[in-house]
Amino acid sequence: MFFLKKRRILLGFEQHPRLNEFTFSLSRILKNPLSLIGLSLIFVFLMIALFAPLIAVPEKPEEPFRIPHEGYSVVPKPPEPGHPFGTTTKQYDIFYGVIWGTRTAFRIGLMVVGSILVIGIAVGSISGYFGGIIDEIIMRITDIFMALPLLILAMAIVTALGRSLDNIMKSLIIVGWPIYARTVRGSILTIREEDFVRAAQAQGAGTFRVIFKHVLPNAIYPVLILASLDIGAMVLTAAALSFLGLGAQEGYADWGQMVSLARNYIVGPQGQPFLYWYVVTIPGLFILFFVLGWNLLGDALRDIFDPRLRRK
């Protein structure tokens, strides 16, 4: 931040209050053990995703998400030099798969939740702020979505669009936005009636200024918490859909797809149930820690960014 400081000295302006707030938030996150665990988990995964080409060098750089495999033997092989986590059915390398699968997980989580947030906040604030017939129409549409079970609806949409990871993401976006729109609308309805909204209007602020500066910042916390928790949940749902055989093609680096691939070897032969433990446990643990990390972080963010709890 030295350049900020320099400019400040040059022009003689004081430190920006937002910078103050940011340092305060950061210190709060670093003091809470749970959020620290969450944050470090996410950080580790982020590093794995960033340095995937160095950790697991792709054989074909033009399609790095394709897991390399040697031979077509269906029986998994335990960890050995060259294959640190062993190989799964058809000799796909588990290590390579989970490392590159981290990128896929981030892509799914962030893109799905990001799009859901944008759609949900936009639709929800229009619905809540303007009310009336617009509200009525939008809310009935969300009712239709919410009347169907999330997973079944997502499955139906993926089946209709065709089997692929991109279609899983699309279907999750279609299925996920109504809850966000509902949440945003609900909090906007209560904020809209507050005196300070009236006061902002009396100061001469326009509709969009009122929505974005006065109403949304008050209404957005529940939905942001929901979002940070949902990044994990969406990855989990995507993995479930992949497991059901709706995801990427065989051999694509995706955790759900890898578990799905090893379906027949979850339980070993008679007398040795844990013989092939590595085929499910390792991708499973990656999914577990990824989701756990986001959940812990989400919890911590709620405590830190809610101004009513913030300085307690």
Binding site: L11, P17, D195, R198, Q201, G204, A205, P217
Partner: protein, 388 residues
Amino acid sequence: MPVQEMQSAESVLEIDKLKVNFYTYEGVVKAIDEISFALEDGDTLGIVGETGCGKSVTVLSILRLILPPGRIESGCILYGTKDACIDLAQKNDEFMRSIRGNDISMIFQEAGNALNPVLSIGDQVRESFLLHQQQELCKSVLKRLSQKGDRQSGYRRFLSWRYQRKLRRAAGNGLKDRRYGRLLKIEAMRWSVDLLRNLGIPNPDELVKRYPHELSGGMQQRVVISMALACNPAVLIADEPTSNLDVTIQAQILQLLEELKKRYHSSILFITHDLGVVSEVSDKVIVLYAGTVVEFAEVRELFKKPLHPYTRALLHSVPSLGSKKRLESIGGNVPNLINPPSGCRFHPRCPHVMDICKKQKPDLYRGMGNSDKSHLAACFLYQQEGAA
């Protein structure tokens, strides 16, 4: 017409036969029924009435902030001097936005609710400047940039160029939201600190970084007042600014308003249900009952010689120190405004009720044997004496 009598040459705000209805499921609530009054330049006009008589609705309709299902049915809201006066009831929302906060501003009832909990005090105070004084802010930024040091660095030249462009745009259509730029915001923050200091708030540099919940009720009210005064409005509407403060703070706030009125040459429309406060601050008083004006008078005149039966009853029901008389209450209930009583809206509770009261709505009549033109009551008791 009585309306003309109430006006004088230098009135800044005139309400003429304003009518506001609320369309609810149970029926049409006739909240305001043809109210007329005028606010004179440099005056403080008190509006008194019990809860639900339409005080707040009146002032919100002046700012055109009545939300659906409410609607202004008819009437004029004339703002400005005689020669250059505009009817706010006819203007569109964009024009109203330039009026709100700049020419007419409002102090809200509960300061704690009128401040946004997630924005710092400085953020909220400077918003008035950012919305209405963009040109002045730009000029001030440019001046500051040219003052700093003798050496003109490239970065500073770039900044000057940028803010000159902003100044041109502000002079045209006005800057759009989020196009203010950092320096403009910092400048506005500086102005806010000055403003708060001028209002006698201790330690304003510290205060602008705080959030509303960290302040006391009196302090919050001062901040709200400063927000309303930021752009030096011609008309200041104070909607029960002291209603939930304790008496010492109340006195301070009232004194502050009095000083500010003199310093900024504003006119104040002061709403309250507290007769004590009204006698303290206002020059003239309007008494509202169930959405109608029942009496208009100089403040001393009103307390000395109330004309309308409702005003009399109201004054009788206020405890006075040292008197051992039992307090009287007004018989009956406040009428339901969906089905207001015919004729005079006070007639079912009036001790002097006559036949005509039930049929016809009274105009404002001059008081009994009173040479003073500015004491009017909406009651048929005074019809003969002061035919208007």
